[in-house]
């Protein structure tokens, strides 16, 4: 007589797993921190997403946070409605906005991820400089070379 663990881990029993949805949609806000990462975010935003919002903080002006059409957005409102904020940066870019976004996320207890793209071809100093800016404010840091990683990441996270 097989044990319960043996029976329950079989392919036969896998057919009886409940197929009902086991999660409600999560909202993910993606924010470009510099001009080059904005291009990455713009490309990603053209895909079809269910629960992703794409913004940019690359303007470095008074209305510093905007959507990709240039309309100003309120940071606290955006953070409040998000389950996860992904900050996208490129090596050597201006990622100063990470601290403001990070503080807002900390205040609202929202998870943060920093995604540094195009790092393999960049000088180490540029990568380090960007990391120093994002690391204090990110609970997860990903350094990826291919720019399409963001798409796979968002898909994996059900954005």
């Amino acid at each position: 007589m097989p044990s319960e663990s043996a029976r329950m881990s079989s392919a036969t029993e896998a057919r009886y797993r409940i197929q009902a949805p086991n999660s409600t949609p999560r909202s993910i806000t993606v924010i470009a921190l510099d001009a080059r990462s904005e291009a990455v975010v713009r490309r990603s935003a053209t895909r079809s997403w269910n629960h992703a919002t794409f913004l940019t903080a690359s303007a470095n002006l008074d209305g510093w946070l905007s959507d990709l059409a240039g309309r100003s957005r309120d940071l606290m409102n955006e953070v409040e409605g998000a389950d996860l904020v992904v900050m996208v940066a490129t090596p050597g870019g201006h990622a100063e906005a990470a601290s403001i976004i990070g503080q807002a996320c900390s205040l609202k207890r929202v998870m943060t991820t920093a995604l540094v793209v195009g790092a393999t071809s960049a000088p180490d100093e540029a990568v380090s400089e960007t990391l120093a800016q994002v690391r204090p404010w990110a609970l997860m840091v990903v350094i990826a070379n291919p720019v399409d990683y963001i798409d796979d990441m968002l898909a994996a996270l059900r954005a």
Binding site: N22, L84, I143, Y149, A155
Partner: protein
């Protein structure tokens, strides 16, 4: 989550599948050298990548890995006689050498040359570091011999075990690169297991249950860094290596031996978990070897005469709810390896990744899948050799170290992440 077609792509490794094609570009561990201990010893059945094979060692010490079944009537050659430089089928006496070439068909006139027309599929089988490695890909693509440090240090410095896992290879690998489970599933064992206890790093691991992760692409795969608070503006870093397709190296603790895994598909619902233990600069102590033999650390005790863990799904992994309640184990299952096997096998033979809900700290897993899918596409579409085949990608080390808070681990640990003969590992 993955779409079903992506999940199928990554988990199916039989002949003709894209992932099977990719696995067949690497030297893979097939057997322990001890399984073929002497010339003309009994042959051993081997199933790899959904292919039934037979390994044997002939009268001259040559190793062979050939199709398990005789070309005549399909009898298993495991029943054959290993003698006079060949394996003779016990049914009608057809005989094969280590390359699978038939060298004798007793019922046919010797002068007819009929035997030369019979050839079983075979793969090279070479010894390195106490393991027998095979390459199952196209001969023209055979890479240089494996250069993993655990397989190239003197034999007194290394020992490897293996166990059968009743799950697809990918969910086993994903457990190996999922550093965040250690603080839960294995937490009770860090300070008690003889191959882990006593290291200063354990206190950081147990004192900070919310590590911050950094995932960085490496030439052969990924560096997966887990950062915890240490003293005076410093961080304690644990950096795991993943090299494609399925090699991992766990960050070391103190002066304990270094260890890690290699997951190799047996078929799509089972895999070998290879577990190596070595030290780059010194022989393993008698106590370390005894601990490995006793199933401590990442190793297991076996059902007698098999490579199946003594605690397995047929006995509910010897679940001990009293030990769980008392805090002696977190899950009620004892031992790192069986703890991993129990949760990974409970997911089912091939987990349905369309239903999972990954979170941000799962980026190591997400990135690994991303890299595997990219490498698959490049291999299938353009014949590009995947990462991890190049021996340079194999000369790596994991590391545990303390770095200033403002230093990227890729910089601070740059030297530590490369295997250098006679150089001690970076370990806290």
């Amino acid at each position: 989550m993955l779409r079903k077609e992506q999940n199928d792509l990554l988990t199916q490794t039989g002949p003709g599948t894209p992932m099977g094609q990719m696995f067949r570009r690497y030297w893979l561990p097939a057997l322990l050298t001890d399984e073929l201990p002497e010339n003309d010893c009994p042959p051993v059945r081997v199933k790899l990548l959904s292919e039934r094979l037979l390994a044997f060692r002939d009268s001259k010490g040559r190793y062979g890995l050939i199709d398990e079944f005789c070309a005549h009537r399909g009898v298993s050659l495991w029943f054959g006689r290993n003698e006079d430089c060949g394996l003779r089928c016990s049914y009608h006496g057809w005989k094969y050498d280590v390359t699978g070439q038939c060298i004798d068909v007793p019922s046919e006139p010797e002068q007819s040359g009929f035997a030369r027309k019979i050839t079983l599929a075979s793969y090279p089988l070479i010894e390195r570091g106490g393991l027998l490695w095979t390459y199952m890909g196209p001969p023209e693509g055979q890479p240089p011999l494996p250069e993993w440090e655990f397989a190239t240090v003197p034999r007194a410095q290394t020992i490897t075990t293996k166990r059968v896992q009743d799950s697809n290879w990918l969910q086993a690998l994903e457990g190996g690169i999922d550093s965040s489970h250690v603080s839960f599933l294995h937490r009770a064992d860090l300070n008690s297991d003889p191959m882990f206890k006593g290291a200063r790093g354990n206190q950081y691991s147990l004192g900070d249950l919310r590590p911050v992760f950094e995932v960085v692409e490496s030439p052969g795969g990924l560096y997966i860094g887990a950062r915890r608070n240490a003293e005076h503006g410093h961080y304690y870093w644990r950096i795991t290596q993943w090299v494609m397709p399925s090699f991992t190296m766990i960050p070391p603790r103190g002066d304990h031996s270094v260890h890690g895994h290699f997951w190799v598909p047996i078929d799509d619902e089972h895999c070998w978990t290879w577990s190596y233990e070595y030290h780059p600069t010194r022989p393993l102590t008698d106590a370390e070897v005894a601990a490995v033999r006793a199933g401590k650390g990442i190793h297991v005790q076996y059902e007698p005469g098999t490579f199946r863990p003594l605690a397995n799904r047929d006995n509910d992994y010897l679940m001990d709810r009293a030990a769980q309640k008392a805090g002696k184990t977190f899950s009620g299952v004892a031992g790192f390896a069986v703890q991993d096997a129990s949760v990974q096998e409970s997911m089912g033979p091939i987990v349905d990744r369309t239903k999972e809900n990954l979170v941000s700290t799962d980026n190591g897993i997400i990135m690994a899948r991303h890299r595997l899918l990219h490498a698959l596409k490049a291999l299938v579409d353009q014949g590009v050799t995947p990462p991890g085949v190049d021996p340079v990608h194999q000369k790596v080390r994991s590391a545990s170290l303390i770095l200033p808070a403002d230093q990227p681990f890729k910089d601070g640990a740059r030297e530590a992440l490369i295997a250098r003969p006679e150089v001690a590992p970076a370990s806290v």
